[in-house]
């Protein structure tokens, strides 16, 4: 029944995120023919870093594979998926208005409350990441393109591992704060800071968002194992912190 409770608590966040990402995935595929025509005909003469970025994006968009990686995995999924990972991780574990005392009066260890909440949230996050990403591959024939399911699964896996970090961070913050807003604001702030660090570090292939987008797989056909393992270790540490915090918490 704790699963059912978790579902009821997060279903709207999940359904809205799922619907938005499905629309975004479908839209990304269906507008590709226009984008491909545009990139072929418009020269970019903008100077500096911005011009370089635009030229790189347009270069990538010349192939469907490059477009999917830069536009879907590198932008839409990264931004929206990270936001919904944070929102799904925000659990009202301490708020009396959300029935915390009633939950704590049930014969359930606190660690199980967190395990179920985390597992339910990660299952929803899995669906939010994988289903729209698969749609990108499945809709490709409709515009005369092809994108391998295997590549989708690899990129989605990389993203899921990274998104789980933000989900767990939000879960940890929910064991500290009683309201749902501070965990969201702090986690979003940390995500933005990490994104800025990613942009600044030109040499590192191990920035969180670079690992999440599967850049190494895209450019070198190699899995970013070191980055994935580092992120997974950080996620496990944060989750352990959340467990410890919830266990010692006074209500």
């Amino acid at each position: 029944m704790l699963w059912y409770k978790s579902w009821l608590e997060t279903r709207w966040r999940f359904l809205i995120g799922f619907a938005l990402l499905l629309c975004s995935a479908a839209g990304s595929v269906l507008v590709y023919p226009q984008i491909a025509r545009l990139t072929a005909s418009v020269p970019v003469n903008a100077p500096g870093i911005l011009g370089e970025k635009i030229r790189e994006a347009m270069e990538l968009a010349r192939s469907y594979r490059g477009y999917v990686w830069s536009h879907w995995f590198g932008q839409n999924l990264t931004q929206m998926g990270t936001l919904f990972a944070i929102l799904l991780g925000t659990a009202s574990l301490l708020s009396e208005s959300s029935g915390a005392l009633f939950t704590l009066s049930l014969p359930v260890p606190r660690r199980r409350l967190l395990h179920v909440r985390a597992a339910a949230g990660l299952a929803e996050l899995f669906a939010i990441v994988f289903v729209p990403s698969l749609l990108v591959a499945l809709l490709a024939p409709a515009i005369g393109e092809h994108y391998g399911i295997g590549a989708v699964l690899i990129h989605a896996f990389c993203f899921f591992v990274g998104a789980a970090l933000f989900f767990t961070l939000s879960l940890l913050l929910s064991t500290i704060f009683g309201d749902p807003w501070r965990p969201v604001m702090i986690a979003v702030g940390i995500a933005i800071a990490l994104a800025i660090v990613d942009q600044l570090s030109h040499v590192s292939m191990f920035g969180v968002f670079r690992v999440m987008s599967g850049e190494r797989w895209f450019r070198e056909a190699r899995m970013p194992w070191a980055g994935l393992i580092a992120i997974a270790a950080a996620t496990a540490t944060i989750y352990y912190g959340a467990l410890r915090n919830l266990a010692r918490r006074d209500f």
């Binding site: 029944m1 009821l8 959300s98 029935g99 704590l104 009066s105 006074d250 209500f251």
Partner: protein
């Protein structure tokens, strides 16, 4: 059934909620836990149910250590609880709330569930968030009563209710206890309702139990001894044990005794009063006098 020894709780901000609480609630009793707001009632209950940890001291419920996380799961399996806020899940309907709770209690009483759903006239398909406070209290009570619990812990169950609903809730508790074998630990600052349903009293003030015992024994042992003098009442110091409070007001010297009234009266007569009157004391007077004394 409930036993605490030297229970202390100091919060991170330095506030001392409990300062060595000694509590003993025997099996089968209906124990009223009286105290002013902020006296430490809710903190005690949270410790008994494993929601909060004491700074020091011992707490045992149903023979189990309430401070052990594993034992507290077993305590909660065998206890029913209604919190002061009646904080249930607003997004569930009444029937979902009942099904959800029932799943955690192997001894869930379906017969009582049906009876209380009818008696409380709870709309099964209405969202909990749309229930009135009275309805929410009744639902919280149903969820506690149907657990097949050996111990019922109620934290200010009638707080914020109008008198009609409060009476209905109290009657439901009384009739439930009459039919089922269980111990009730009932916190309140409403003296009249505690007097109505309990057979045992603990009065807590500033984190310590200041009065504890069977209600009948307290009524029997507490006396108000009123001495009237010709002139101003003298400043008297009583040596007999059992003097809870002495108050001078003009010609009247009022002594509250918690025991040993005869010896105190004998000592009082030596002060040469015009009259000596010994009267029984209501629970309200005991409460106000003991809390007042401790608070001074």
């Amino acid at each position: 059934m409930i036993e605490t020894t030297g229970l202390r709780k100091t919060y991170a901000d330095g506030a001392e909620a409990l300062r060595g609480l000694d509590l003993n609630v025997p099996t089968g009793s209906i124990c009223g836990f009286l105290g002013r707001n902020g006296a430490g009632k809710t903190t005690t209950i949270k410790i008994l149910l494993g929601m909060s940890r004491p700074t020091s001291g011992e707490a045992r419920v149903l023979g189990l250590d309430a401070t052990s996380p594993d034992a507290s799961v077993e305590i909660r399996r065998r206890s029913g609880f209604v919190s002061e806020e009646k904080d249930l899940y607003g997004y569930m309907t009444v029937v979902e709330m009942v099904r959800f709770t029932a799943a955690f209690f192997p001894r869930w009483r379906r017969d009582l569930e049906e009876r209380y759903l009818r008696r409380f006239e709870l709309p099964p398909l209405r969202k909990v968030s749309a229930l009135s406070k009275g309805m929410r209290t009744k639902l919280a009570l149903l969820l506690a009563l149907c657990r097949g619990a050996e111990l019922l812990i109620l934290d200010e169950p009638t707080s914020g209710l109008d008198p009609t609903i409060a009476e209905e809730v109290l009657q439901a508790i009384v009739s439930h206890v009459a039919n089922e074998e269980l111990t009730v630990f009932f916190s309140s600052h409403q003296i009249a309702e505690v007097e109505q349903i309990t057979d045992r009293i603990v009065i807590i003030d500033r984190g310590r139990a200041v009065v504890s015992g069977a209600l009948d024994d307290l009524r029997e042992s507490y006396r108000r001894i009123q001495l009237v003098f010709d002139g101003d009442a003298p400043k008297a110091v009583f040596t007999a044990p059992g003097v809870a409070r002495v108050e001078r007001k003009g010609r009247v010297l009022s002594v509250l005794s918690s025991a040993n009234a005869e010896a105190i009266v004998a000592e009082a007569r030596r002060l040469d009063p015009v009259s000596v009157d010994v009267a029984p004391v209501s629970l309200k007077e005991i409460f106000l006098d003991t809390v007042h004394t401790e608070g001074d």
